[in-house]
């Protein structure tokens, strides 16, 4: 089989087209959001919110309201509870995050077990990329586009908030509101990606692309391009790999993203472990040549 056929053959199946659209959308939105999360130090918060939206999604399903509403509600509930436990007891933030998100996630699991539906637990955790329906793809595309538009429209305020919240406050912006907006978009993004790609994949997609891009550039504007580019390429490679190797697609995508991070961590020109040494020796050699 020639390489073009290798790429095209899977796309002759409708489910693969849906999977590709879903993976690319989730990868893009999550990666853009991850740029702020890793810089603010909210990776764990991303982890927490993406887990904590689960009971909200299940309840929304039970009462036939849009998933996004349930997710937003529980996303904010999680953040509020984490803040409350941290501020009103001697428990530190990481423990507060762990307690709140695992409890809410467990509530989601219990709710699923008592809800008559076809939702499979495995799909929630690892995703069901190959089983995404056309309607779901449409919903994912719309919500994803909304989240992406909001992130890009307010990107300078979010970046200022991430870099210097005190200055943001001093010039009349509202850092609490900006933080809440970012967390709301995080909850929205989680629900976009969760249904299709599973909790584990959402977490990975919310952390790895931003961290990888941060090792590659000193400019935030470029990070916002590099992170989704890497994330999308990894999603596509992962999806094809899972097709040909007959492995779990969600897991495969995260593996590829992790591998991409490892490569960058080692070989990035300025920040990579090995890359730094190579750059230094090249500089020395060119200095000698002069």
């Amino acid at each position: 089989m020639n390489p073009i056929d290798l790429l095209l053959e899977p796309l002759s199946y409708g489910f693969m087209l849906n999977a590709l659209a879903t993976a690319v959308t989730a990868a893009t939105v999550c990666a853009v959001l991850s740029c702020w999360l890793v810089l603010i130090g909210w990776s764990l918060m991303g982890d927490a919110v993406s887990h904590a939206v689960l009971p909200g999604v299940v309840l929304a399903y039970m009462f036939s309201v849009p998933f996004a509403i349930g997710a937003l509600l529980f996303g904010f509930l999680a953040v509020g509870l984490i803040g409350a436990v941290r501020d009103t007891s001697r428990i530190k933030e990481d423990a507060a995050i762990g307690i709140v998100f695992s409890t809410l996630f467990a509530l989601g699991l219990v709710l699923i077990s008592v809800t008559p539906s076809e939702t499979d637990l495995g799909h929630i955790i690892f995703g069901n990329l190959l089983g995404v329906s056309k309607e779901e793809v449409l919903q994912i595309l719309i919500l994803g586009a909304l989240a992406l538009a909001a992130l890009l429209l307010w990107r300078r305020d979010f970046t200022l908030f991430a870099f210097d919240a005190t200055h943001a406050h001093a010039i009349g912006l509202n850092p609490r509101l900006l933080g809440a907006a970012l967390l709301g978009l995080l909850a929205l993004t989680s629900v976009v990606a969760l249904q299709a790609v599973g909790v584990i994949l959402v977490v990975a997609m919310l952390i790895i692309p931003g961290a990888t891009a941060h090792l590659l550039t000193d400019r935030f504007g470029r990070m916002l391009l590099i992170a989704p580019a890497i994330s999308v390429v990894c999603a596509i490679i992962g999806l094809y790999a899972s097709y040909y190797l007959d492995t779990a697609s969600g897991g495969m995508i995260v593996l590829v993203q992790g591998a991409a991070f490892a490569l960058v961590y080692l070989f990035a020109p300025a920040q990579g472990l090995v890359g730094r040494k190579i750059s230094a020796s090249v500089r020395r050699r060119s200095a000698k040549a002069v």
């Binding site: 305020d157 870099f163 210097d164 000193d218 935030f220």
Partner: protein
Amino acid sequence: MSVPAIEANGLTVRYGEVLALDEASLTLHPSRICGLVGMNGSGKSTLFKAIMGLLKPESGTVRINGDTPAKARKSAAIGYVPQSEDVDWSFPVSVHDVVMMGRYGHMGFTRRPAKADKLAVAEALERVELTDYAHRQIGQLSGGQKKRAFVARGIAQEATVLLLDEPFAGVDKRSEATITRLLREQASAGAAILVSTHDLHALPALADEAVLLMQKVLMHGDPQTVLRPENLALAFGLDVLGRDENS
């Protein structure tokens, strides 16, 4: 007399059990530089936060240029230069980006810089002598250059009230002189400037007045008087004169 740029009245702030500010009052007029002196934990950073409205005091009021802090913030009147420890130096922003953040209060909601903003940034960078470093990542500057970048942000902002938290900590002599000159220039142009500092020797050259802080404002006067050893002893609790404090 002109309207005070900063008018803090009877500020009391508590963090749980800890009393951070105790009925602290401070008035600073335009075109004046005031040095804020006190040991660690004396409430200097808390005073800055209260002036910016970043925390709500238990009692007391703050007026900025005769307005509420909220109104002053909206008009981008308050410029703030943070302590070095409070800045993430690995953050992927350039010197130019940081100075441009000073202009955000003057921009529309997407913060797209207009010509006037770009001009103000270029001018501010020129004045702090960082034009050649404009596109460096903020962490790739020396200690003094980093401080100058943040001072440039306040200049570009056209802030009428400038708050600087330890701007001379970890700064080389040349940068210290440059920052001192810049602050004097900003004051001449009408800004009121409050500077917390441990660098007591440099204070008379910089400040028109000085405040000794230890939860309360112990003393507020000209720097020479405030810096007399017997007065410093009050703020630092040191037995500078060899006398027993408790006697």
